[in-house]
């Protein structure tokens, strides 16, 4: 197992290098740079722009620019954001906690709701409750998050006033106090729900189908024959087997926690990595854009690795060595 993990880990290095080339080329293929578009004739002049382009090395040949970028990148120097004028790692550090909080909360909501609904639906398939849950789930799966986000804001923020519609923290909160954390939590719930809405569906249906399938298996019949209470059969015998495939989702969840929710964060004006990513595309902030894409790629690769390893852990039949 260790050997397998190590081998996979080594295999990631050339993959990342290839990804970096693609990212760099794609980023530079976008027309314009951070100086085009916004010209203010009263404050700046063409010489200044030319001077800054030269200074940032935008005029060098592309391969040279690539090697300069990747060398610095490997050494942990991600460059300086052309928009915020501070180092990229600082920009990301400012927003990472928000994204992590949002990601974890949404995953938590997903798991709790999916387990509750999945177990109910699996135990009582083809009943009214199961059908209601199914309808809810497919609704969630089919409504795009930007529609769900806007409706959630309209009902829960404007009509009912339960949750704030924007931001990650209330005004005048002192860091570290209980109110501070409550306020952050209060701000994160609505976007987290919208984000979870989409995932709940697949988790629930997965669990439901697995439970139905398992409940027809021999070991369940045996348990029933022994006189084991029905609730114990479902909550212990079946559930244990049914969560195995779900565990492997954990690896992919890693990705969604970090990469945030580009659309949801933007709609809720929630300052996280997703919103940052979208804005960097708009303003051609190459250093931030490329660092974020590299980060997301890395996490995706690691997520895949974790998923593969977990497969082996929960199901010895596919253990690779």
């Amino acid at each position: 197992m260790l050997k397998f993990a190590f081998r996979r880990f080594l295999g990631m290095i050339p993959m990342l290098l290839l990804i970096s080339i693609v990212i760099f080329t794609l980023a530079r293929l976008m027309p314009g740079d951070s100086f085009s578009g916004e010209i203010d004739p009263t404050n700046t002049n063409p010489e200044y722009i030319a001077e800054m382009r030269e200074k940032l090395g935008y005029n060098d040949p592309l391969p040279q620019q690539y090697f300069r970028w990747i060398t610095n990148f490997i050494q942990g120097d991600f460059g300086k954001s052309t928009r915020f004028k501070i180092s990229v790692s600082e920009v990301i550090k400012e927003r990472l906690p928000n994204t992590l909080l949002l990601g974890f909360t949404s995953i938590l909501i997903t798991y709790v709701l999916a387990f509750l609904m999945g177990m109910y639906a699996g135990r009582k398939p083809y009943t009214l409750g199961d059908n209601l849950i199914g309808t809810f789930n497919y609704l969630g799966l089919s409504i795009p998050s930007f529609v769900a986000g806007v409706f959630a804001i309209y009902f829960f923020s404007y009509k009912l006033g339960w949750f704030p519609s924007n931001g990650s923290i209330g005004i005048g909160m002192k860091e570290g106090t209980i109110e501070y954390w409550l306020s952050r939590f209060h701000h994160v719930i609505l976007p987290a729900f919208v984000l979870a809405f989409l995932n709940i569906a697949s988790y629930t249906q997965f669990l439901r189908n697995d439970i139905i399938e398992n409940s027809r298996k021999d070991f369940v019949r045996t348990a029933r024959a022994k006189g084991t209470p029905e609730s114990k059969i479902y909550n212990v015998h079946i559930l244990r087997n049914s969560i195995i495939p779900l565990v492997t989702f954990l690896g992919f969840d890693l990705v969604s926690i970090i990469s945030g929710a580009i659309i949801t964060e933007t709609i809720f004006t929630y300052p996280g990595l997703g919103q940052l990513f979208l804005q960097s595309v708009g303003t051609r902030d190459y250093p931030v854009l490329m660092t974020l894409t590299m980060l997301f790629s890395l996490i995706t690769l690691i997520g895949n690795l974790v998923a593969d390893i977990l497969y082996g852990v929960v199901d010895p039949r596919i253990r690779l060595d």
Binding site: P31, P46, R83, G167
Partner: protein, 569 residues
């Protein structure tokens, strides 16, 4: 078992309904109260209250005049810092903290008010201003303001490292300073950098590290009516009243500036959780429909135009060598063909006004309509002009051919962003030209690439839509002079260059603004006679202000200083 469950359900429903009714009755009470207070309007300013102001996108967080770059940071700076001079409703410079005298427009003597306090308790000295000028002239300074310092005697040498002192800046005492420019110009003052920096707060910070310093990012020190108490990067800025503000104690207790996605601003305004924000003209009807908010429009300084590619950029100057649109009658006909009134009404939501010159109407140099050639919508005249110029339909396809009988197509470009109205409005323009028989092909180009192509005078940009926003300095040379990169039509005209030069020439106009204006009026006449571009519309700025906020006034230079505002309690 079952009964208790039902019981809980009933309790739950009861609680929920109680909650909902509480909500709605609260709402009613709230509106009632508001109506009541507006009846007994008291016009005496009241102290206290919190003003919530929204930005439509994240600030970059460069909260210092010397380093800021975009309009969003500027909105924040307006609340907590000051310019030494002010601009009136015609964008003429007025004394504010500093007043000045000059005899020859070369040497300026400035005197600042005594007892003006910084937020950290220091008294403002001209040395703070000197410090800002030196910072900008430093070779490590990365911002874009050197333009505004360059003309001071010795500034360039200081930047190049030839001297360690800028000769043209002479501090006389804490309140008096003399600034000498390399040459007498009429617009020396307009172009000068007049924002001080607190030199104590920046003590010990190298120029190259200033951008990253706390004083710029999170703990700025200003002179304005409010002082910053907390910055949550990318999200909000909190400020409180600065009691020692030189203009008088502000009425409002606290200001909160938040980033709110534009799609949420109408809802927030309606809920009363937002007091003030600028907004995109496209939602003006929704804002106007709100009872508790006033949609204010005030004159702006930007205008939009249709340009023609008349030539190219040879790396140093413009060369007018492109024959396709050289015929003035063609350009005039295209102008007559556009129904600007209708077009502006349809796409600028009532906040645009057709404009007849490349100068916004509120600028003091703007020429009177009567003096300029008018191009009112007249499709028949357009057709007549085209006939005269030889653009006739010879092959009977319904479109005109060029004077040589070859097919003629207007290749019209417009920039594309996420804004869905851009394509519609560009198509509408194309439609006007088609109606007089000119075949038009529209290309929508990504906005970043678009300006790149214009900078390079790319051949594909034949007829293009563009816009400029002008500043306080009325000089149109950087935009329309024949040696300037941003003269996108690549228009070269000796007469125009001569007039523009004369208007800046101290030996011609002296310090007489009237004389200078007359030259600019002459220039505008010439411009509208030559028509290198077709000016289409100027845009008003739009701002939503809650009715509980009082004392806010707007003119072309923006709003009055916020210490005069107050909140009805």
């Amino acid at each position: 078992m079952k009964r208790t469950r039902m019981h809980w359900l009933i309790v739950f429903i009861l609680v929920l309904s109680a909650f909902l009714t509480a909500c709605s009755s609260n709402d009613k009470a709230g509106t009632n109260k508001k109506e009541g207070s507006s009846v007994e309007t008291s016009n005496k300013p009241q102290d206290g209250g919190t003003l919530v102001y929204a930005l439509d996108s994240q600030p970059k967080g460069l909260f210092n005049w010397t380093f800021y770059e975009d309009a969003v940071d500027h909105e924040v700076l307006e609340f907590f810092d000051e310019n030494l001079i002010d601009y009136d409703e015609h964008l003429k410079a007025q004394p504010h903290i500093a007043s000045w005298t000059t005899e020859d427009n070369k040497v300026f003597k400035f005197t600042i008010k005594k007892g003006v306090k910084w937020h950290n308790g220091d008294e403002l000295s001209v040395k703070d201003w000197e410090f800002a000028l030196y910072t900008i002239a430093n070779k490590d300074y990365e911002g874009s303001r050197f333009e505004n310092v360059r003309n001071i005697v010795g500034a360039q040498d200081y930047r190049d490292g030839k001297t360690d002192k800028i000769e043209g800046i002479k501090v006389i005492d804490d309140y008096n300073i003399e600034i000498t420019f390399d040459k007498a110009r009429v617009n020396n003052l307009d172009n000068l950098w007049t924002y001080p920096m607190n030199r104590n707060a920046f003590k010990g910070i190298e120029v190259k590290d200033m951008l990253n310093s706390e004083v710029v990012r999170t703990k700025p020190v200003g002179l304005g009516p409010f002082k910053v108490t907390k910055v949550v990067p990318g999200e909000s800025i909190e400020m409180e009243r600065f009691d020692d503000y030189f203009g008088g104690k502000p009425h409002i207790e606290k200001v909160v500036i938040k980033v709110i996605d534009p799609s949420l601003s109408v809802g927030e305004l309606k809920n009363g959780t937002l007091d003030m924000t600028s907004f995109h003209p496209s939602i003006i009807d929704q804002v106007k429909a709100l009872d508790n908010v006033e949609a204010i429009t005030y004159p702006g300084v930007s205008y939009y135009y249709v340009g023609f590619r008349l030539g190219t950029w040879d790396g140093e100057k413009n060369v007018m060598n492109e024959p396709k649109y050289q015929d003035k009658k063609l350009r005039e006909a295209m102008y007559y063909a556009i129904n600007r009134e209708e077009w502006v009404k349809a796409f600028f939501f009532g906040v645009g006004k057709p404009v007849n010159r490349p100068i916004p109407s509120n600028h003091w140099i703007a020429a009177d309509q009567k003096e300029l050639k008018q191009y009112k919508y007249d499709p028949n005249k357009a057709k007549k002009l085209l006939d005269e110029a030889g653009y006739k339909d010879v092959n009977g396809d319904g479109y005109r051919e060029d004077p040589n009988g070859k097919e003629f197509v207007i290749n019209f470009s417009h920039y594309a962003t996420q804004n869905p109205t851009f394509e519609a409005r560009a198509k509408a323009l194309a439609q006007y030209w088609e109606e007089v028989g000119l075949k038009t092909k529209l290309t929508m180009t990504d906005v970043n690439l678009y300006y790149d192509l214009l900078d390079k005078a790319d051949k594909s940009m034949e007829v293009f839509f563009g816009g400029w926003s002008t500043g306080a300095d009325p000089d149109p040379t950087p935009l329309w002079g024949s040696k300037y990169l941003w003269n996108y039509p690549r228009w070269v005209n000796e007469e125009s260059d001569k007039l523009l030069d004369q208007a800046l020439d101290i030996s011609v106009v002296g310090t007489d603004n009237e004389k200078r204006k007359n030259l600019y009026v002459e220039w505008q006449k010439l411009f509208m006679e030559e028509l290198p571009i077709l000016p289409i519309t100027e845009l008003e700025e739009t701002m939503a202000v809650s009715k509980r906020v009082q004392g806010v006034k707007f003119d072309v230079s923006g709003y009055n200083r916020p210490h005069e505002w107050w909140i009805k309690q």
